[in-house]
Symmetry: C2
Subunit: 144 residues, 2 copies
């Protein structure tokens, strides 16, 4: 095969935040007890914080809860939008500690975060990224 010529553009931090701002489906990745885990979740963005919900007592809480409320070890959150027809799109990757929001704390934008997976999902997790990177990919003009 011959690879489709394409261009890769590194996104600015501001571009990244604007692209992920509307919320929707993202993928959370973490080193779980059974290995590296990646799960789709619905998320919201609020004041530089990404919030999503998952099931209390589920795999994620089991993995993230290590006796402390804040998890410093790596968690990543990826959002992308890819048009399969035009083969263009973007992806954004956030890295940062996860924080389990407990009952005595307000949930940033949490009222609008709808759980994607079924069941009772009442665990809010927020990520305040210390790093956000992104890239946009689009076909090179004239090579179509």
């Amino acid at each position: 095969m011959s690879a489709t010529p394409a261009a890769l553009e590194v996104l600015s931090t501001q571009d990244c935040w604007e692209l992920i701002g509307p919320g929707g489906v993202g993928r959370v990745a973490f080193a779980g007890l059974r290995g590296l885990t990646v799960l789709p979740v619905n998320y919201r963005v609020h004041d530089g914080v990404v919030v999503f919900r998952t099931r209390r007592g589920g795999e994620m809480e089991e993995d993230l809860r290590t006796g402390i409320k804040d998890v410093d070890r790596g968690i990543a959150f990826e959002i992308d939008r890819i048009d399969n027809v035009t083969e263009s799109g973007w992806s954004v990757l956030l890295r940062g500690p996860a924080h389990l929001v407990t009952g005595d704390e307000p949930v940033p934008a949490g009222e609008d975060v709808r759980p994607w997976a079924g069941g009772t999902r009442d665990l809010h997790i927020q990520i305040t990224p210390h790093e956000i990177t992104g890239r946009r990919v689009f076909p090179v003009q004239g090579h179509g």
Copy 2:
């Protein structure tokens, strides 16, 4: 808010393979030098092996190459299809070692793997999962 009632169904191994069989866009996750990394890539499935391509000399090769050709440490590959309107969909997660296909090896289904990100992408990576899990989520009837 009240969570949307939904049901979660654990998928069989066979279901997982059938769902990811057509190929398309998936997300590879690995513990990189700069932290946990998740990137969208185009993939193909061939005889129980997932193959995707990435850029030679890029972040992924840098991370996966540690002087050995096969990487035993955790790599994960996630594929999902989610309908934002019906809030139904599925996700599949594979775990297993990554193998960098070198020039003297045939690339399983590699001729059809189109790189998603731009630039020269001539590094084939294949994952032979030792674990494949998946789940399907759909709204509960009558609660709409």
